[in-house]
Symmetry: C2
Subunit: 235 residues, 2 copies
DNA sequence: TAATGTGAAGACATTCACAGCG
DNA sequence: CGCTGTGAATGTCTTCACATTA
């Protein structure tokens, strides 16, 4: 999907290959990329179940709501531990805590947003992030016309201040919403500033930057995927 | 990914199974979902090459730019035809036309946008769509406070007018940017109005609606994926 | 009894490697 | 000669099916 894709992303694992005597990479079982994506879906749905006051859910119940097989759900959760109770299912509250811990959203992540055009300003106002433990902590642009503009997340600062602010505020993630031509360059600046991961909205594939993880979302491509699926169906 | 689905999406193919005598589904070779996603990436990069005035590109060149192997590129394009020239590579202009035809963006698709909150209004102004042959033709909301507001794509209309306008303007696609709780209901209204495909931005998995293709994009989930990858790395 | 967890089988996707072509 | 197109080999992911458990 949807990505693919709908969003593209970096590799996650580090296949242990033949060398089982390797000491360094702390032999954790690799997580299949599709399973990683589904983990977020589980969490989101479990949270809605909890809001409804439910206590347990079966792999079958999760699967039906998320359009997956029950076996898939069990395999996915099984990658991280034994969370279920035979004859009962999964305890919702407990599973939510476990998944948050796996994803890392048992704590808050600070995010810098670079590029305050149409999309950037929408992202700055989007409420879906806070709930998920992401706090937009600083806004940047290079266009003098938007500098100083004020948002709930603060004022727009010049790109030159990026490294300083990232360090001061201990920002770990960045969202990149600049024009395609500038994306690679700005991404590299973000990396140099100490950002560990970049969510890229620019319509361009970023070349690998050592030490940085990137995930891309391209809105126009998602519409194309929709068109393609329809076109393939009616042929 | 995604990757799946980072973005998630419906099934594309229709596995031919054993029954090779089937008459109905017009035996076209199924397209692997990941390959379908990459097709859009090829197109986008080819267009940028064309803008630079280049004439040909090898599978190796495409692969390097898009972080894929050359073999992968050849396999993918090979799913749709023989577009390359041994010893030369692919002719950029020609390949662009072919891929547009496959995706269906050799013509214009009309799009209705439902839900004019933060995200909806950003989508209404986003320039990345027109270039890709998607024309936002009508805007809808149910909140009286935003009705009548004016955007480049027109004025915001009440949701009750959806079916009428979809038919009048021959709209085929919809973008859904309403709150999660309303997503399924509004998606079903869109289907009834005659829309063939929905790009869903609401943070909820839509249940299957017969006759409609859906692709989902969840911004908060993409940030979670970034966090997860970083968390998995440093464990 | 109603559910999980998990090897084994099967389906699917990627990479290899090389024949063939302009 | 350089590069494509494509079967065959490999690798990854999903589904099956059932022993196991509370």
């Amino acid at each position: 999907m949807q990505s693919p894709e709908d969003s593209q992303s970096e590799k996650i694992k580090d296949s242990p290959k033949k060398d089982s005597t390797a000491l360094e990479p702390r032999d954790a079982p690799a997580v299949p990329k599709p399973a990683a994506q589904r983990l977020s879906l589980y969490l989101r749905y479990l949270e809605s179940l909890q809001a409804q006051g439910l206590e347990t859910i079966s792999s079958q119940g999760l699967g039906t709501a998320l359009r997956l097989t029950a076996a898939q759900v069990r395999k996915d959760l099984g990658l991280f531990g034994q969370f279920g109770f035979p004859g009962v299912g999964y305890k919702i509250a407990e599973l939510i805590l476990q998944i948050r811990k796996i994803i890392g959203t048992d704590r808050i992540w600070k995010v810098a947003l670079v590029g305050m055009g149409n999309l950037g300003s929408a992202l700055a106002r989007y409420r879906g992030f806070q709930q998920k433990k992401f706090q937009i902590s600083a806004l940047f642009d290079k266009d003098p016309r938007v500098l100083g503009r004020s948002y709930p997340a603060g004022v727009v600062r010049p790109l030159e201040d990026l490294a300083k602010i990232v360090h001061e505020q201990e920002i770990q993630l960045g969202m990149l919403a600049v024009p395609a031509e500038e994306a690679q360059g700005v991404a590299e600046k973000m990396a140099q500033a100490g950002i560990q991961g970049i969510l890229n909205f620019a319509p361009r594939v970023l070349q690998k930057i050592p030490g940085v993880t990137t995930v891309s979302v391209d809105l126009a491509i998602q519409l194309e995927q929709l068109a393609l699926q329809i076109t393939l169906q009616d042929r």
